[in-house]
Protein backbone atom coordinates (compact mmCIF):
# COMPACT_ATOMS: atom_id res chain seq x y z
CA UNK A 1 0.00 0.00 0.00
CA UNK A 2 2.76 2.45 1.00
CA UNK A 3 4.97 1.44 -1.95
CA UNK A 4 1.96 1.95 -4.24
CA UNK A 5 1.47 5.47 -2.86
CA UNK A 6 5.19 6.20 -3.25
CA UNK A 7 4.99 4.97 -6.85
CA UNK A 8 1.99 7.24 -7.49
CA UNK A 9 3.80 10.20 -5.93
CA UNK A 10 6.98 9.53 -7.92
CA UNK A 11 4.89 9.28 -11.05
CA UNK A 12 3.08 12.55 -10.27
CA UNK A 13 6.42 14.31 -9.78
CA UNK A 14 7.74 12.82 -13.05
CA UNK A 15 4.62 13.98 -14.92
CA UNK A 16 4.82 17.45 -13.32
CA UNK A 17 8.49 17.93 -14.22
CA UNK A 18 8.00 16.56 -17.74
CA UNK A 19 5.03 18.97 -18.16
CA UNK A 20 7.20 21.89 -17.03
CA UNK A 21 9.95 20.85 -19.45
CA UNK A 22 7.57 20.32 -22.36
CA UNK A 23 6.15 23.85 -22.06
CA UNK A 24 9.18 25.69 -20.77
CA UNK A 25 8.34 29.08 -22.36
CA UNK A 26 4.75 29.06 -21.10
CA UNK A 27 5.86 28.04 -17.64
CA UNK A 28 8.60 30.69 -17.45
CA UNK A 29 6.02 33.30 -18.45
CA UNK A 30 3.55 32.09 -15.82
CA UNK A 31 6.20 31.82 -13.11
CA UNK A 32 7.53 35.31 -13.96
CA UNK A 33 4.04 36.76 -13.49
CA UNK A 34 3.76 34.96 -10.15
CA UNK A 35 7.25 36.15 -9.15
CA UNK A 36 6.21 39.73 -9.89
CA UNK A 37 3.22 39.49 -7.54
CA UNK A 38 5.36 37.94 -4.78
CA UNK A 39 7.98 40.65 -5.28
CA UNK A 40 5.35 43.35 -4.77
CA UNK A 41 4.28 41.61 -1.57
CA UNK A 42 7.86 41.25 -0.28
CA UNK A 43 8.67 44.85 -1.17
CA UNK A 44 5.58 46.12 0.60
CA UNK A 45 6.43 44.02 3.66
CA UNK A 46 9.97 45.42 3.70
CA UNK A 47 8.66 49.00 3.53
CA UNK A 48 6.04 48.27 6.18
CA UNK A 49 8.53 46.65 8.56
CA UNK A 50 10.86 49.63 8.30
CA UNK A 51 8.10 52.22 8.76
CA UNK A 52 6.74 50.28 11.73
CA UNK A 53 10.22 49.92 13.18
CA UNK A 54 10.84 53.66 12.84
CA UNK A 55 7.50 54.50 14.45
CA UNK A 56 8.26 52.19 17.35
CA UNK A 57 11.47 54.12 18.03
CA UNK A 58 9.34 57.10 18.93
CA UNK A 59 6.94 55.08 20.97
CA UNK A 60 9.76 53.58 23.00
CA UNK A 61 11.18 56.98 23.93
CA UNK A 62 9.53 57.01 27.34
CA UNK A 63 11.52 59.96 28.52
CA UNK A 64 10.73 62.98 30.68
CA UNK A 65 13.09 65.95 31.11
CA UNK A 66 12.92 67.97 34.34
CA UNK A 67 14.70 71.35 34.17
CA UNK A 68 15.82 72.63 37.56
CA UNK A 69 15.91 76.25 38.79
CA UNK A 70 19.32 77.88 39.13
CA UNK A 71 21.05 77.05 42.39
CA UNK A 72 18.29 74.72 43.46
CA UNK A 73 19.08 71.44 45.16
CA UNK A 74 18.69 68.39 43.02
CA UNK A 75 18.47 65.91 45.94
CA UNK A 76 14.81 66.64 46.81
CA UNK A 77 13.75 66.16 43.21
CA UNK A 78 15.90 63.04 42.76
CA UNK A 79 14.47 61.56 45.94
CA UNK A 80 10.92 62.24 44.75
CA UNK A 81 11.57 60.70 41.33
CA UNK A 82 13.20 57.56 42.70
CA UNK A 83 10.08 56.97 44.80
CA UNK A 84 7.88 56.69 41.69
CA UNK A 85 7.17 53.12 40.61
CA UNK A 86 7.66 52.64 36.87
CA UNK A 87 10.89 54.62 36.66
CA UNK A 88 13.58 52.73 34.81
CA UNK A 89 16.52 55.11 35.22
CA UNK A 90 17.27 58.64 36.41
CA UNK A 91 20.29 60.67 35.27
CA UNK A 92 21.27 64.10 36.53
CA UNK A 93 23.02 66.53 34.14
CA UNK A 94 24.76 69.60 35.57
CA UNK A 95 25.58 72.62 33.36
CA UNK A 96 28.69 71.06 31.88
CA UNK A 97 27.23 67.64 31.21
CA UNK A 98 24.16 69.45 29.75
CA UNK A 99 26.50 70.91 27.14
CA UNK A 100 27.94 67.46 26.36
CA UNK A 101 24.43 66.03 26.16
CA UNK A 102 23.44 68.75 23.70
CA UNK A 103 26.62 68.29 21.66
CA UNK A 104 25.88 64.60 21.44
CA UNK A 105 22.32 65.18 20.32
CA UNK A 106 23.35 67.52 17.51
CA UNK A 107 26.71 65.95 16.68
CA UNK A 108 26.35 66.64 12.94
CA UNK A 109 26.11 70.40 13.52
CA UNK A 110 27.81 70.71 16.90
CA UNK A 111 30.08 73.49 15.57
CA UNK A 112 27.19 75.91 16.19
CA UNK A 113 27.78 75.44 19.92
CA UNK A 114 31.36 76.67 19.68
CA UNK A 115 32.07 79.50 22.12
CA UNK A 116 28.88 79.07 24.15
CA UNK A 117 29.40 79.15 27.89
CA UNK A 118 28.07 75.93 29.51
CA UNK A 119 26.76 77.98 32.41
CA UNK A 120 24.02 79.32 30.17
CA UNK A 121 22.53 75.87 30.01
CA UNK A 122 20.26 74.74 32.84
CA UNK A 123 20.93 71.58 34.80
CA UNK A 124 18.29 68.88 34.30
CA UNK A 125 17.21 65.38 35.21
CA UNK A 126 16.40 62.83 32.55
CA UNK A 127 13.89 60.17 33.55
CA UNK A 128 13.40 56.96 31.56
CA UNK A 129 10.20 55.10 32.29
CA UNK A 130 9.59 51.39 31.95
CA UNK A 131 7.61 50.31 28.87
CA UNK A 132 4.74 49.27 31.12
CA UNK A 133 4.52 52.74 32.65
CA UNK A 134 3.70 54.92 29.68
CA UNK A 135 -0.03 55.37 29.99
CA UNK A 136 -1.33 58.83 29.25
CA UNK A 137 -2.86 59.25 32.76
CA UNK A 138 0.29 58.04 34.54
CA UNK A 139 2.60 60.42 32.68
CA UNK A 140 0.24 63.39 33.11
CA UNK A 141 0.06 62.69 36.83
CA UNK A 142 3.86 62.55 37.20
CA UNK A 143 4.17 65.67 35.06
CA UNK A 144 1.81 67.66 37.34
CA UNK A 145 3.44 66.41 40.56
CA UNK A 146 6.95 67.29 39.31
CA UNK A 147 5.86 70.71 38.12
CA UNK A 148 4.53 71.47 41.60
CA UNK A 149 7.99 71.03 43.16
CA UNK A 150 9.77 74.29 44.12
CA UNK A 151 13.15 73.27 42.66
CA UNK A 152 11.63 72.48 39.28
CA UNK A 153 11.56 75.15 36.61
CA UNK A 154 9.81 73.20 33.86
CA UNK A 155 8.99 69.64 32.78
CA UNK A 156 8.91 68.34 29.22
CA UNK A 157 7.75 65.09 27.75
CA UNK A 158 6.47 64.34 24.28
CA UNK A 159 2.86 64.10 25.42
CA UNK A 160 1.33 65.19 22.13
CA UNK A 161 3.81 63.37 19.98
CA UNK A 162 3.36 60.21 22.03
CA UNK A 163 -0.40 60.17 21.45
CA UNK A 164 -0.06 61.02 17.78
CA UNK A 165 2.51 58.29 17.25
CA UNK A 166 0.41 55.67 19.03
CA UNK A 167 -2.48 56.68 16.79
CA UNK A 168 -0.25 56.65 13.74
CA UNK A 169 1.18 53.22 14.56
CA UNK A 170 -2.34 51.85 14.95
CA UNK A 171 -3.33 53.48 11.67
CA UNK A 172 -0.20 52.05 9.99
CA UNK A 173 -1.04 48.59 11.34
CA UNK A 174 -4.60 48.69 10.02
CA UNK A 175 -3.65 50.13 6.63
CA UNK A 176 -0.74 47.67 6.40
CA UNK A 177 -3.02 44.74 7.13
CA UNK A 178 -5.58 45.92 4.55
CA UNK A 179 -2.90 46.37 1.87
CA UNK A 180 -1.36 43.01 2.75
CA UNK A 181 -4.71 41.22 2.45
CA UNK A 182 -5.31 43.03 -0.85
CA UNK A 183 -1.87 41.94 -2.12
CA UNK A 184 -2.58 38.36 -0.97
CA UNK A 185 -5.85 38.30 -2.92
CA UNK A 186 -4.07 39.92 -5.87
CA UNK A 187 -1.35 37.26 -5.80
CA UNK A 188 -4.02 34.51 -5.79
CA UNK A 189 -5.73 36.17 -8.74
CA UNK A 190 -2.42 36.55 -10.61
CA UNK A 191 -1.45 32.93 -9.86
CA UNK A 192 -4.96 31.83 -10.93
CA UNK A 193 -4.64 33.66 -14.26
CA UNK A 194 -1.09 32.45 -14.89
CA UNK A 195 -1.94 28.81 -14.09
CA UNK A 196 -5.13 29.00 -16.12
CA UNK A 197 -3.04 29.78 -19.20
CA UNK A 198 -1.15 26.53 -18.65
CA UNK A 199 -4.27 24.48 -17.89
CA UNK A 200 -6.18 25.74 -20.93
CA UNK A 201 -3.35 24.43 -23.07
CA UNK A 202 -3.80 21.03 -21.47
CA UNK A 203 -7.53 20.70 -21.98
CA UNK A 204 -7.29 18.09 -24.76
CA UNK A 205 -4.69 16.14 -22.76
CA UNK A 206 -7.05 16.09 -19.77
CA UNK A 207 -9.87 14.83 -22.00
CA UNK A 208 -7.66 11.97 -23.29
CA UNK A 209 -6.50 11.03 -19.79
CA UNK A 210 -10.11 10.84 -18.64
CA UNK A 211 -11.12 8.62 -21.53
CA UNK A 212 -8.40 6.11 -20.70
CA UNK A 213 -9.48 5.88 -17.07
CA UNK A 214 -7.53 8.54 -15.18
CA UNK A 215 -9.17 9.69 -11.96
CA UNK A 216 -9.53 13.40 -11.13
CA UNK A 217 -6.81 12.96 -8.53
CA UNK A 218 -4.43 11.49 -11.11
CA UNK A 219 -5.00 14.47 -13.41
CA UNK A 220 -4.95 17.14 -10.71
CA UNK A 221 -2.03 15.94 -8.58
CA UNK A 222 0.69 16.82 -11.13
CA UNK A 223 -0.99 20.21 -11.66
CA UNK A 224 -0.69 20.96 -7.94
CA UNK A 225 2.94 19.81 -7.95
CA UNK A 226 3.62 22.01 -10.97
CA UNK A 227 2.09 25.05 -9.30
CA UNK A 228 3.89 24.22 -6.04
CA UNK A 229 7.21 24.10 -7.88
CA UNK A 230 6.22 27.29 -9.71
CA UNK A 231 5.35 29.05 -6.45
CA UNK A 232 8.65 28.03 -4.82
CA UNK A 233 10.71 29.10 -7.85
CA UNK A 234 8.77 32.35 -8.24
CA UNK A 235 9.19 33.10 -4.54
CA UNK A 236 12.94 32.40 -4.70
CA UNK A 237 13.35 34.67 -7.73
CA UNK A 238 11.36 37.50 -6.14
CA UNK A 239 13.19 37.11 -2.81
CA UNK A 240 16.63 37.10 -4.45
CA UNK A 241 15.68 40.15 -6.50
CA UNK A 242 14.58 42.05 -3.40
CA UNK A 243 17.69 40.96 -1.50
CA UNK A 244 19.87 42.11 -4.39
CA UNK A 245 18.14 45.50 -4.57
CA UNK A 246 18.48 45.84 -0.78
CA UNK A 247 22.21 45.05 -0.96
CA UNK A 248 22.73 47.55 -3.80
CA UNK A 249 20.83 50.12 -1.74
CA UNK A 250 23.15 49.47 1.21
CA UNK A 251 26.26 49.33 -0.96
CA UNK A 252 25.70 52.84 -2.26
CA UNK A 253 25.42 54.12 1.32
CA UNK A 254 21.74 55.08 1.35
CA UNK A 255 21.52 53.53 4.79
CA UNK A 256 24.09 55.95 6.25
CA UNK A 257 22.23 58.81 4.55
CA UNK A 258 19.02 57.69 6.25
CA UNK A 259 20.83 57.17 9.54
CA UNK A 260 21.40 60.92 9.52
CA UNK A 261 17.63 61.13 10.14
CA UNK A 262 17.85 58.37 12.77
CA UNK A 263 16.29 55.93 10.28
CA UNK A 264 17.83 52.49 10.49
CA UNK A 265 16.97 50.27 7.52
CA UNK A 266 16.48 46.59 8.33
CA UNK A 267 15.83 43.58 6.08
CA UNK A 268 13.02 41.08 6.58
CA UNK A 269 13.57 38.51 9.30
CA UNK A 270 13.10 34.75 8.85
CA UNK A 271 9.55 34.84 10.24
CA UNK A 272 8.46 37.48 7.70
CA UNK A 273 10.19 35.66 4.82
CA UNK A 274 8.46 32.43 5.84
CA UNK A 275 5.12 34.22 5.95
CA UNK A 276 5.45 35.35 2.32
CA UNK A 277 6.74 31.90 1.32
CA UNK A 278 3.64 30.25 2.82
CA UNK A 279 1.44 32.86 1.12
CA UNK A 280 3.21 32.08 -2.17
CA UNK A 281 2.47 28.37 -1.75
CA UNK A 282 -1.16 29.06 -0.81
CA UNK A 283 -1.53 31.36 -3.85
CA UNK A 284 -0.09 28.66 -6.12
CA UNK A 285 -2.30 25.88 -4.78
CA UNK A 286 -5.41 28.02 -4.53
CA UNK A 287 -4.75 29.40 -8.04
CA UNK A 288 -4.53 25.83 -9.37
CA UNK A 289 -7.62 24.74 -7.48
CA UNK A 290 -9.70 27.66 -8.77
CA UNK A 291 -8.42 27.54 -12.34
CA UNK A 292 -8.93 23.78 -12.66
CA UNK A 293 -12.25 23.73 -10.79
CA UNK A 294 -14.35 24.14 -13.93
CA UNK A 295 -12.64 21.20 -15.59
CA UNK A 296 -13.64 18.72 -12.88
Amino acid sequence: MISQRVSYLTNYFNIAFSNIKSNIAGNIFAFAIMAFSFFIMLFFLLCYVNIYNYMNLFQNRNTMIVFLRNNSKKNNVMHFIKGISGVKSVVYYNNESSMKFLENRIKHIKSVLKGINPNYLPSFIKINFKKSATSKIFLSNIYLRLKALKSVNSVYYNKMLENKIIQFIFFTKVIGLIIFIFLFILSIFISYSAIKLIILRKQSEIEILRLIGATNGYIRAPMFIESGVGAVLSFLVSFLLLFLIFKVFMFYGFDSFLEYFHIKIIFLDLRQILLVFIIALISGFLGTYLSSKKLF
Binding site: Q4, I208, L211, I212, T215
Partner: protein, 214 residues
Protein backbone atom coordinates in the same frame (compact mmCIF):
# COMPACT_ATOMS: atom_id res chain seq x y z
CA UNK B 1 -24.74 -13.55 -18.62
CA UNK B 2 -23.94 -11.13 -21.46
CA UNK B 3 -20.87 -8.91 -21.37
CA UNK B 4 -22.86 -5.93 -22.66
CA UNK B 5 -26.59 -5.43 -22.69
CA UNK B 6 -28.55 -2.47 -24.07
CA UNK B 7 -32.26 -2.65 -23.24
CA UNK B 8 -34.77 -0.07 -24.43
CA UNK B 9 -32.13 2.67 -24.60
CA UNK B 10 -33.21 6.13 -25.69
CA UNK B 11 -30.96 9.12 -26.10
CA UNK B 12 -32.08 12.59 -26.99
CA UNK B 13 -30.42 16.00 -27.09
CA UNK B 14 -33.12 18.56 -26.28
CA UNK B 15 -36.06 17.34 -28.41
CA UNK B 16 -33.99 15.44 -30.99
CA UNK B 17 -33.88 11.70 -30.46
CA UNK B 18 -30.57 10.20 -31.58
CA UNK B 19 -31.41 6.70 -30.40
CA UNK B 20 -34.87 5.17 -29.96
CA UNK B 21 -35.43 1.88 -28.18
CA UNK B 22 -32.01 0.38 -28.85
CA UNK B 23 -31.77 -3.27 -27.80
CA UNK B 24 -28.81 -5.61 -28.25
CA UNK B 25 -26.45 -7.83 -26.34
CA UNK B 26 -22.77 -8.64 -26.82
CA UNK B 27 -21.07 -11.76 -25.49
CA UNK B 28 -17.46 -12.20 -24.50
CA UNK B 29 -15.10 -12.66 -27.45
CA UNK B 30 -17.55 -11.39 -30.10
CA UNK B 31 -16.66 -9.01 -32.93
CA UNK B 32 -19.50 -6.56 -33.52
CA UNK B 33 -19.87 -3.91 -36.19
CA UNK B 34 -22.16 -1.04 -35.26
CA UNK B 35 -23.28 0.57 -38.43
CA UNK B 36 -25.59 3.26 -39.68
CA UNK B 37 -25.29 6.55 -41.58
CA UNK B 38 -23.65 9.64 -40.16
CA UNK B 39 -25.64 11.06 -37.26
CA UNK B 40 -27.42 7.80 -36.58
CA UNK B 41 -25.93 7.49 -33.08
CA UNK B 42 -22.98 5.07 -33.54
CA UNK B 43 -20.57 7.28 -31.60
CA UNK B 44 -23.25 8.05 -28.99
CA UNK B 45 -23.71 4.30 -28.44
CA UNK B 46 -20.00 3.84 -27.78
CA UNK B 47 -19.88 6.99 -25.61
CA UNK B 48 -22.68 5.62 -23.45
CA UNK B 49 -20.67 2.44 -22.92
CA UNK B 50 -17.77 4.51 -21.56
CA UNK B 51 -20.11 6.70 -19.49
CA UNK B 52 -19.18 9.82 -21.45
CA UNK B 53 -22.92 10.09 -22.15
CA UNK B 54 -25.87 8.84 -20.12
CA UNK B 55 -28.98 7.30 -21.70
CA UNK B 56 -32.14 9.41 -21.46
CA UNK B 57 -34.16 6.26 -20.79
CA UNK B 58 -33.39 2.57 -20.63
CA UNK B 59 -30.65 0.44 -19.14
CA UNK B 60 -27.11 -0.39 -20.17
CA UNK B 61 -25.30 -3.18 -18.39
CA UNK B 62 -21.59 -3.89 -18.68
CA UNK B 63 -20.20 -6.86 -16.77
CA UNK B 64 -23.51 -6.85 -14.92
CA UNK B 65 -23.07 -3.24 -13.69
CA UNK B 66 -25.82 -0.71 -14.54
CA UNK B 67 -23.96 2.12 -16.27
CA UNK B 68 -26.84 4.59 -16.02
CA UNK B 69 -26.58 4.41 -12.23
CA UNK B 70 -22.80 4.67 -12.07
CA UNK B 71 -21.41 7.23 -9.58
CA UNK B 72 -18.97 9.74 -11.12
CA UNK B 73 -16.11 8.47 -8.96
CA UNK B 74 -16.57 4.93 -10.37
CA UNK B 75 -16.39 6.01 -14.02
CA UNK B 76 -12.54 5.92 -14.30
CA UNK B 77 -12.56 2.31 -13.03
CA UNK B 78 -15.13 1.36 -15.67
CA UNK B 79 -13.03 2.98 -18.39
CA UNK B 80 -9.98 0.93 -17.37
CA UNK B 81 -11.93 -2.20 -18.37
CA UNK B 82 -12.67 -0.70 -21.79
CA UNK B 83 -10.15 0.17 -24.48
CA UNK B 84 -11.21 3.03 -26.74
CA UNK B 85 -9.79 3.79 -30.19
CA UNK B 86 -10.80 7.05 -31.85
CA UNK B 87 -10.93 8.18 -35.44
CA UNK B 88 -8.56 11.07 -34.64
CA UNK B 89 -6.20 8.82 -32.54
CA UNK B 90 -6.17 11.18 -29.51
CA UNK B 91 -2.47 10.76 -28.74
CA UNK B 92 -0.43 13.18 -26.65
CA UNK B 93 1.90 14.89 -29.15
CA UNK B 94 4.59 15.84 -26.63
CA UNK B 95 5.00 12.30 -25.29
CA UNK B 96 6.89 9.50 -27.03
CA UNK B 97 5.14 6.44 -28.45
CA UNK B 98 6.30 4.47 -25.41
CA UNK B 99 4.98 7.05 -22.92
CA UNK B 100 1.64 7.34 -24.76
CA UNK B 101 1.11 3.59 -24.47
CA UNK B 102 2.43 3.50 -20.89
CA UNK B 103 -0.23 6.06 -19.91
CA UNK B 104 -2.83 3.32 -20.26
CA UNK B 105 -1.12 1.44 -17.40
CA UNK B 106 0.00 4.42 -15.33
CA UNK B 107 -3.57 5.69 -14.87
CA UNK B 108 -4.38 2.27 -13.37
CA UNK B 109 -1.57 2.58 -10.84
CA UNK B 110 0.85 0.24 -12.57
CA UNK B 111 4.45 1.45 -12.49
CA UNK B 112 8.02 0.26 -12.85
CA UNK B 113 9.20 -2.90 -14.61
CA UNK B 114 5.72 -4.14 -15.50
CA UNK B 115 5.23 -1.05 -17.66
CA UNK B 116 8.44 -1.68 -19.61
CA UNK B 117 7.52 -5.34 -20.14
CA UNK B 118 3.86 -4.86 -21.12
CA UNK B 119 4.41 -1.77 -23.28
CA UNK B 120 7.30 -3.42 -25.15
CA UNK B 121 5.20 -6.53 -25.79
CA UNK B 122 2.18 -4.62 -27.10
CA UNK B 123 4.37 -2.37 -29.27
CA UNK B 124 5.96 -5.47 -30.80
CA UNK B 125 2.51 -6.91 -31.55
CA UNK B 126 1.54 -3.75 -33.46
CA UNK B 127 5.01 -3.66 -35.07
CA UNK B 128 6.01 -0.30 -33.61
CA UNK B 129 8.67 -1.31 -31.10
CA UNK B 130 11.43 0.26 -33.17
CA UNK B 131 9.59 3.59 -33.06
CA UNK B 132 9.01 3.61 -29.31
CA UNK B 133 11.07 6.78 -28.76
CA UNK B 134 9.47 8.79 -31.56
CA UNK B 135 6.79 11.41 -31.05
CA UNK B 136 3.31 11.02 -32.63
CA UNK B 137 3.61 13.96 -35.08
CA UNK B 138 6.58 12.16 -36.66
CA UNK B 139 4.45 9.06 -37.43
CA UNK B 140 2.08 8.33 -40.32
CA UNK B 141 -1.70 8.14 -39.72
CA UNK B 142 -1.64 4.34 -39.73
CA UNK B 143 1.23 4.24 -37.25
CA UNK B 144 -0.54 6.71 -34.97
CA UNK B 145 -3.66 4.54 -35.04
CA UNK B 146 -1.54 1.49 -34.14
CA UNK B 147 -0.15 3.42 -31.16
CA UNK B 148 -3.73 4.25 -30.14
CA UNK B 149 -4.70 0.56 -30.43
CA UNK B 150 -1.66 -0.41 -28.36
CA UNK B 151 -2.61 2.13 -25.69
CA UNK B 152 -6.19 0.83 -25.63
CA UNK B 153 -5.12 -2.80 -25.33
CA UNK B 154 -2.15 -2.52 -22.98
CA UNK B 155 -4.53 -2.54 -20.00
CA UNK B 156 -5.88 -5.91 -21.24
CA UNK B 157 -9.45 -4.57 -21.35
CA UNK B 158 -12.64 -6.63 -21.43
CA UNK B 159 -13.77 -4.92 -24.60
CA UNK B 160 -12.20 -2.79 -27.32
CA UNK B 161 -14.40 0.01 -28.66
CA UNK B 162 -13.31 1.54 -31.94
CA UNK B 163 -15.05 4.59 -33.38
CA UNK B 164 -14.37 4.80 -37.13
CA UNK B 165 -10.75 3.67 -36.54
CA UNK B 166 -9.99 3.71 -40.25
CA UNK B 167 -11.91 6.88 -41.05
CA UNK B 168 -8.74 8.93 -41.58
CA UNK B 169 -6.71 6.21 -43.29
CA UNK B 170 -6.22 4.96 -46.85
CA UNK B 171 -7.43 1.52 -47.94
CA UNK B 172 -4.15 -0.37 -47.46
CA UNK B 173 -3.52 1.13 -44.03
CA UNK B 174 -7.14 0.44 -43.07
CA UNK B 175 -6.60 -3.22 -43.89
CA UNK B 176 -3.51 -3.36 -41.65
CA UNK B 177 -5.44 -1.75 -38.79
CA UNK B 178 -8.37 -4.15 -39.24
CA UNK B 179 -5.99 -7.13 -39.28
CA UNK B 180 -4.45 -5.97 -35.99
CA UNK B 181 -7.87 -5.51 -34.38
CA UNK B 182 -8.99 -8.94 -35.64
CA UNK B 183 -5.83 -10.57 -34.32
CA UNK B 184 -6.60 -9.26 -30.84
CA UNK B 185 -10.19 -10.46 -31.21
CA UNK B 186 -8.86 -13.91 -32.10
CA UNK B 187 -6.91 -13.84 -28.83
CA UNK B 188 -10.20 -13.31 -26.98
CA UNK B 189 -10.73 -9.54 -26.80
CA UNK B 190 -14.34 -8.50 -27.44
CA UNK B 191 -14.51 -5.82 -30.14
CA UNK B 192 -17.23 -3.30 -30.95
CA UNK B 193 -16.38 -1.26 -34.01
CA UNK B 194 -18.52 1.64 -35.20
CA UNK B 195 -18.31 2.36 -38.93
CA UNK B 196 -20.40 3.38 -41.88
CA UNK B 197 -17.90 1.82 -44.29
CA UNK B 198 -19.68 -1.12 -46.01
CA UNK B 199 -16.38 -2.48 -47.41
CA UNK B 200 -14.97 -2.81 -43.93
CA UNK B 201 -18.06 -4.67 -42.72
CA UNK B 202 -17.92 -7.09 -45.63
CA UNK B 203 -14.32 -8.14 -44.89
CA UNK B 204 -15.20 -10.45 -42.00
CA UNK B 205 -17.76 -12.70 -40.48
CA UNK B 206 -18.67 -10.37 -37.68
CA UNK B 207 -22.13 -9.65 -36.31
CA UNK B 208 -23.57 -6.37 -37.55
CA UNK B 209 -25.87 -4.15 -35.49
CA UNK B 210 -27.55 -1.56 -37.67
CA UNK B 211 -28.73 1.12 -35.29
CA UNK B 212 -30.81 2.91 -37.92
CA UNK B 213 -33.29 0.07 -37.39
CA UNK B 214 -33.62 0.84 -33.69
Amino acid sequence: MHLIEFSHVYKNYDKNYVLRDLNFTVDKGEFIFITGPSGSGKTTTLKMLTAVEKPTHGAIRFMNAALQDLRPKDIPFLRRKIGFVFQDFKLLPDKTVFRNVALGLEVSGIFGGIITKNVSEILKSVELYTKKNEFPPALSGGEQQRVAIARALVQNPQVLLADEPTGNLDEDTSKIIMDIIKSFNNKGTTVMLATHNKNLINTGRARVIDITKS
